[in-house]
Symmetry: C2
Subunit: 371 residues, 2 copies
């Protein structure tokens, strides 16, 4: 970062099925929480960036930048960004650029998704917009199908067993018990994961992150300070279609973004104490910790087999147990990392958010200062 | 601008009904044109920003940043931005911030929309996402309806006649004859405008910009120079719902963005020789020239009643005659302003792009240097 950008406030709704709340209500609740925790007032917000993926289909609502702006008394300039399930990270990145450019001093970054008002089939179609609609979707693939293929291939290449994979969702559910904002706060024994209904072989229902409503908001600022400084914000892209990939058991966009993020933060991987990774499906979590460099290829599962892995992985409960209102996730991950750093007193934490089958990836490194 | 940002290349498809082309084909054609005209190669592009509003509904395709990135050999980081019909301007603004922050050196900004593959009713519903889905849409309003109300009220307040309003679309069609990229290149006598089928009284079919396919691309750079420098990039927001407005015959977001843009460019209104304004409906053009300060309230039509207005207004043909693939429009406007400045040898030009009923507005001022 060429300027000090501080995370000065944050708020979120609990993720879940909020049938009695509209998209505006969810946004308002997250904004309110963020302002409540920040040293600034609403009038200090000079730009609003909204992350959203599917409201055009599920809520007939585009133009969410202006809509969120109109929840503030002075209606500051606003825009919406989207990069499928990485929309949250991309919004944070856009905010960093606006702050570093000097165009903004205090930015509200808000991720929101209201997914449960339409039938699940409609949500699946909308989410499939993250894939290639000319090359992959016409084959009948859905995202559980795509990650089913990924898991099949990973098991073939590395010998991962179904029983081993169970440890991923089990760990995420165990972690979520302590998180009041998580959609599912029940411990689930590992063996129950593979006993849940099959969705896309070998993936079962409990390998999949749920459909959720929710919003999460961060206030980033160069004008106000806090103990949480953004040390790196990096994006990377890859081919959207699986047919253009060399491998489906490793995601180069994560590797590229991670390399650039470590360089930008001027730190090393071993200094990072807490990570939140994008576990849209259990197999993705395994691949992510490998691509981030915390495990060798094929050995990511070993981190999940440890009781206290270093770094901590998805201590919030991850997408699986917290819920996954897609564009809110990347922002909620950063909030969770900040909480973990404050609790542990450690210095470095990282959030990893991807879209599609990691056709876009955003990584943020947070530095806890004055420790 | 706190850094010199140059427009170093641009390209666009002709806007129209391109049933034989997909969204990827349109993007490719615009990118190809932009690279062809630029002093850089594809490999110099370090970030891609895609403006798109409705592809999630009309093409089942989100994630257009990554999709566009994968059309380049090195798949640079990418994101999509949206602010309804102002998406193009918002994408240019985001590019400016990335360039000024130093995060990017050469950015491809691409607007695309593929609107004619689905029935018009579906397009109308998708476009209505630019309005407030909780407050305005449930009343049965569509955008022609919203601007029909605006026109009714404007006529009531200022005595504008239906015959006077005819001059707007007639001028835009006359201008488009010379523009090879315009969807409609036929002159239409003024009296024919109000003889076309009534859409939303007093607006007729020929008061309304069409449904179009198309893409437009600009390459903005701090690493390469050209004779076209961005002098200002400003956004402003307003309430999305009409029910939260004090007036519907003037759009404060235009005024706010214009004031900031003139200040940023350090120039005055009278120096500007060419403007492209957002004439989604004829009445909008009249209001825009007033809000931009080129005419007094109620007297915008007088500029259209002159044979050679100063500044020139929508010399390209505007949205009415060029077509309006919504997110491509703001980028195509900047390209047109650059062409007009090169032709005239003048120094200052301006593009004005709005979303919804101007709930978001983006203004860019271009400076033609070495004149």
């Amino acid at each position: 970062m060429n300027t000090d950008v501080f995370l000065i406030g944050s708020g979120q709704t609990r993720f879940g099925e909020w049938w009695e709340k509209g998209i505006r209500d969810l946004m308002y609740e997250a904004i309110d929480g963020a302002l409540e925790s920040a040293p600034c007032t609403a009038l200090d917000i000079d730009t609003v960036i909204v992350a959203n993926m599917i409201a055009e289909r599920t809520n007939a609502q585009a133009h969410l930048g202006a809509l969120a702006s109109s929840l503030l008394p002075h209606r500051p300039p606003a825009l919406r960004v989207e990069s499928a399930c990485a929309s949250g990270a991309v919004a944070l990145h856009t905010a960093c650029a606006l702050l570093e450019s000097g165009r903004a001093k205090t930015v509200l970054v808000l991720g929101v998704e209201k997914m449960t008002d339409v039938p699940p089939a409609e949500v699946s179609t909308a989410l499939m917009g993250a894939a290639d609609s000319e090359k992959d979707a016409p084959c009948g693939l859905t995202f559980p199908g795509i990650f089913g293929l990924v898991a099949q291939r990973y098991m073939f290449e590395y010998g991962l067993t179904r029983e081993q994979l169970n440890t991923v969702s089990a760990a995420h559910h165990r972690n979520a018990v302590a998180n009041p904002f998580a959609q599912f706060r029940a411990e689930i024994p590992a063996e129950k994961i593979s006993q849940s209904p099959k969705v896309a072989d070998p993936l079962c229902l409990l390998d999949c992150s749920p459909i959720s409503d929710g919003a999460a908001a961060c206030i980033l600022s160069t004008a106000f300070e806090s103990d949480m400084k953004l040390a790196a914000s990096q994006l990377a892209s890859d081919a959207v279609s699986l047919t253009e990939r060399e491998s489906i058991t490793s995601f180069p966009a994560t590797k590229k973004a991670m390399e650039k993020a470590l360089e930008e933060a001027d730190t090393d991987r071993s200094s990072i104490s807490h990570i939140e990774v994008h576990d849209c499906f259990s197999i993705a979590a395994v691949i992510n910790v490998e691509d981030l460099g915390f495990a060798e290829p094929g050995r990511g599962i070993e981190l999940y087999e440890q009781a206290d892995p270093v770094p901590t992985i998805n201590a919030s409960g991850g997408l699986k147990a917290c819920g996954h209102p897609v564009a809110a996730t990347g922002i909620k991950q950063l909030i969770d990392v900040s909480k973990q750093l404050r609790n542990s007193g450690n210095r470095w934490g990282l959030s990893h958010n991807f879209g599609g089958a990691c056709a876009s990836c955003g990584i943020h490194i947070l530095e806890h200062i004055h420790v």
